[in-house]
Structures are given as C-alpha cells and as structure tokens.
Amino acid sequence: MSTKDNWPTWEVFTQQKNGAAHEHAGNVHAPDAEMALLNARDVYGRRQEAVNIWVVPSVAITASTPEDMGPFFEPGNDKMYRWPNYYKTPEGIKQI
C-alpha cells in the first residue's frame, strides 16, 4: 500500500459548549485540514459533543516525554506556598 493511502493524522480538540475550553478528543486521518475537520465532526461529534472543533497536524505537537516526568515538573513540587490552604487563617475570620 502506498504512503498516499495513509493520510497524515490530525489531533482533534472539541469544545463541548460555548465558553468551555477545547479538549483533546482523539485524532483522524485526512489529506488536508478541511477534510480533517469534516472527519472530526463525523467521528467525534455525532452526539452533540462539540460546538466548535480544532484540528492540528499531529506532527506540529511538541510534547514532554515520560522520562522528563521527574525533573521537568520538579520546580512545581516543593512550593506548597502557592496554594491558599498553606496559609493559616486566624479563628473567627470567615473570609479573606
């Protein structure tokens, strides 16, 4: 089978309702962006799962790797003071 038969993949992001963030739904094969959008609608939006769809060529995505997991996210691990519940509030104070 020629490579022509294996169309490139496009990652599909669907917005489930107006105002919501787009979420990754999966991917589709398509020869171009327009067809990718139509395929994405048929594959990931048959039951009103989307009011808006993005398609992005899969090759355009840069991702962190599993090996990165420790060191890459390390800077966030030891800074509990970034959460509000790190701070004690004097008794009797209901709101701050």
Partner: protein
C-alpha cells in the same frame, strides 16, 4: 555497552513497567513496554478494530430493507457508530507503532482476524434485533472490562465506545420485544433468530479458560481483567432475565439458575465450531472478505479524489 549492562538496564525497565501495572497506572504510548506487551496489544486492538469494520456488513445488508423509515434511520446511525468505533480503535492501535493502512492491508489480505460472529449470515429483519441485543450486548460486557485495561489509548477508546454501544443493544432488544408482541409469525421469526445466534454469541468470548493461549500474559499485564469464562457467565446472567421478560426461550436445555452460586448453569459450547469459523470455514467468511475488499476497491475513487483536491488546494 556490554551485554550484562544492557541486561541490567532492560531489567530496570521491566521492573518499572511491572510496578506501574501493579499500581493500577496506565501505560501510555511513549512509555517503555515489553515487546510482547506491545505485540499482544497490537494483535488484540487491530482485531477489535477489524471486527467493528466487518461488523458493519451483516447489518448493512438490511439498511435498504428496514421495515420503516425510523428503523432505517436507527440502523444507519448504529452502522455509522461501528465505523466510528473502528476508527477510535485503529487510532489507539497506531500509537503502538503500526500504520492504519498496514492494519487494513492485513484485514483485506485475510492475514488478520476479526470477531467470529460476523461470519454468520443475517437472514431476516429479526436478525437485526438479535444482533443488536445479543452481539452488542456481549460486546458491552467485553468492552466494559477493557475500559479499565492497562493501556491508556485502548481504555479511553473503550470508554467512548461503551457510551455509544448502549443504544445499539437497546434498539436491538426493542426490535425483539416489538416482534414478540406481534403476530405468531413475527414471534416465531424472533425466536428463530435467537435460536441461530445464541450459541455463536457465547463463542464471542473466546475459548474456555483452559484452552486460551494468550490469556495468561494478558491478565498478568491487566490488559484483560476478567477471563473469557467469567465474562461469558456475566453475559448469560444478565441476558437470560431479559429474554424471559419478552417471552424469548434461550435454546439451551441445560440452562438453569443455581441459587447457591447465583449464576446460571448452561450447556456445553461447541468450541470446534468456533475453531472452524475462526480458521476461515464459517458460513460467511469468504463473503465478508469479498464484501470488505469490494467496499475498499469501490471507495478508492473517493480517496483519490480527496488527495487530488488536497494537492490542488495546496498549489493555489
């Protein structure tokens, strides 16, 4: 690197992998995995995807002959879902490093397998009820378990599919219930469909545990969480009361509720028939392969046109 060093590194990977599995974490495409895990998953997922695709054929047979416009719309929606399910699973399987085109090639050449049940004919409209209710019902039992499997892309595809598959089973059951409340001929048609489909559906869960060559590894890796026999039992337990509720008789003289085990006991399954169908000698194996190959060939112009259009647009 010297040989002992390579072996030591490999062992570290294996240990980390096993620890992830034991902790109930999912394995993702870029994670290290044993070659055998990858191979077994690829076999299982591509077979599953092929089953969704070939599964469109027995029902497609009745699209133009549905008894009403509503039934036709419902069946069309179901068949379209099956195409979508095939796509979800192919897309999950591709993360293991094999192109969809290659998997489809393996299906078309007859090298790859698909679910044995689709090698049985759908002879009349009652079969659409039987297929939806029993075949999709069995698939739900199977897929609900797979939705918790260790490979992330497979599990996520299953969650999507299970959500949609409930409608498939329900519309089939409704066809059956409707026919069972009809004329004597309609009732006989419905019963006849169950008589033909019941045993082949039980075979969908695969060989018995004692004779299931791939099960050990798959269970160890939590790809399969329940054995073939466990899932089969679960299907029977939930289906028998549904049959009784609409007056369908399950064609098994040995079927009996066991109040102690709280499970149904059932007769012996003819696994020789399953073996024969899997190895290509079922009633419709050749027909399905021909239909699938024809569909692929007849659709070639659409794929070519899509590429030509994309290339033309790219030049503009």
């Amino acid at each position: 690197m010297n040989q002992p060093q390579i072996q030591e590194d490999e062992q570290k990977h294996v240990d980390a992998f096993n620890a992830r599995i034991a902790a109930g974490k999912t394995i993702e495409p870029k994670d290290w995995m044993p070659e055998k895990y990858r191979k077994q998953l690829l076999r299982m997922m591509s077979q599953h995807a092929h089953s969704e695709v070939v599964g469109m054929l027995p029902e497609g047979n009745w699209l133009t002959r549905a008894p009403s416009l509503m039934r036709k719309a419902v069946l069309l929606a179901k068949v379209q879902d099956e195409a979508g399910h095939g796509l979800y699973i192919y897309s999950g399987a591709e993360t293991l490093g094999t192109d969809r085109a290659e998997m489809i090639d393996q299906l078309l050449s007859g090298k790859a397998k698909y679910a044995s049940i689709f090698n049985y004919p759908t002879l009349n409209w009652a079969d659409m009820g039987a297929v939806g209710w029993l075949v999709d019902g069995a698939a739900i039992v199977n897929q609900t378990a797979l939705a918790k499997c260790s490979y992330g892309p497979y599990a996520r595809a299953m969650i999507r599919i299970c959500k949609e598959e409930n409608f498939h089973s329900k519309q089939g059951y409704q066809i059956m219930a409707h026919m069972m409340s009809g004329t004597k001929e309609q009732q006989e048609m419905a019963q006849d469909a169950i008589n033909r489909f019941w045993w082949p559906v039980l075979m969908m869960f695969g060989p018995s545990d004692a004779d299931s060559p791939n099960s050990d590894d798959l269970m160890k890796w939590k790809v399969k969480l329940y054995s073939n026999d466990d899932l089969r039992q679960r299907f029977i337990d939930r289906t028998v009361p549904q049959a009784e509720a609409i007056g369908i008789k399950i064609p098994d003289d040995k079927l009996k509720w066991n109040p102690t085990t709280r499970h149904y006991e059932f007769g012996e399954i003819n696994f020789d028939e399953l073996k024969s169908v899997i190895t290509g000698n079922g009633p419709c194996n050749k027909l399905r392969m021909k239909q699938r190959n024809d569909a692929h060939k007849n659709g070639a112009w659409v794929r070519e046109a899509a590429i030509a259009y994309a290339e033309k647009r790219a030049k503009e």
